[in-house]
Symmetry: C2
Subunit: 185 residues, 2 copies
């Protein structure tokens, strides 16, 4: 792995940062999920899917888009959407242009459910992540994480409307009703 003999072991600072990163990556989703599951009956991933739909045009998105922007496999998403469909929060629609493609659409019930539970979720995120963090620290964390993400998956950029779980007011007015361009296929 190394051109010469010994690999480049981590120094103490790197080790500590690495341990903290791993602990955070493991504990944070679990903790967020505990609150969501208890209050809204949703996993973090399910919530995230609903949130992305809620911010999409027409509350509609292609399955493959949704999978890509939620960092999941299409298979996983398909199973999850099936579960969400059974709950009545999402509906599948076949795309007329490309009949291989499927749109997932957030139902009114799904939107209402999300809207009802978003505030508690944001409060939890605030408590777990942002409490005790100044603006400067937020900025440097953000930058450091961007570097790491670029290492993991070069060229990935944030989806303008990805949301990573609703963290601002769900916007009812703009895109839902009329003939604005669809978010789906």
């Amino acid at each position: 792995m190394e051109p010469n003999g010994e690999p480049q072991w981590l120094n103490d600072d790197e080790r500590e940062m690495w341990m903290r990163l791993v602990s955070t990556a493991i504990l944070l989703p679990g903790t967020i999920e505990a609150q969501l599951k208890r209050d809204a009956g949703l996993s973090f991933f399910e919530y995230h899917v609903l949130a992305m739909l809620s911010e999409a045009e027409g509350r509609t998105r292609l399955m493959s888009d949704l999978a890509h922007w939620s960092n999941s496999s299409l298979s996983r998403l398909s199973h999850v959407v099936t579960r969400l469909e059974k709950q009545g929060w999402v509906r599948r629609e076949s795309c007329p242009n490309d009949r291989r493609a499927t749109n997932a659409v957030l139902t009114d019930e799904g939107f209402a459910h999300l809207e009802a539970h978003a505030p508690a979720h944001v409060a939890e995120v605030r408590r777990l992540v942002f409490d005790g963090l100044g603006a400067a620290q937020v900025a440097s964390l953000s930058e450091g994480l961007a570097t790491i993400l670029e290492n993991i998956d070069p060229g990935r950029t944030s989806d303008p409307r990805a949301g990573a779980s609703v963290t601002r007011k769900t916007d009812d007015s703009a895109t839902h009703d009329s003939k604005s361009p669809e978010g789906g296929c």
Copy 2:
């Protein structure tokens, strides 16, 4: 959730940081695991368990210790240790002092396996996490993550020998052979 009406939605910087944190928490373990699985036939979690054992006195640890320091439930650990036992990398030993308790012990095969694959793992961690990150950035990331961890689980401190997966040379000499204090029960 809020004393007055509106909850405290995240501002743009916070949103971006949050999205990056979530993406990192999801993508990083998966990517690390891909390399480990391919090269060493281990999940990230399994690797982590072996690594913690390798750094413990007598290469031995109580199950409950191991569960606590690897952020896992005892149930999950029990299943994983069963799998690792089947591979011959770990062995269970009942603790003589407290017969409810069980020690997990890293076998010589387990140690050898770990030693063989540690360098490639560290190289991957270096590539994914530390490439392009200066010492100052490492420090501020570390500090920010510490704040978050404190929010998630107040009072948690790093285990002096937790390791979060081997990231330095596995130390053969110090603790293995003689009558040094045991790591287990």
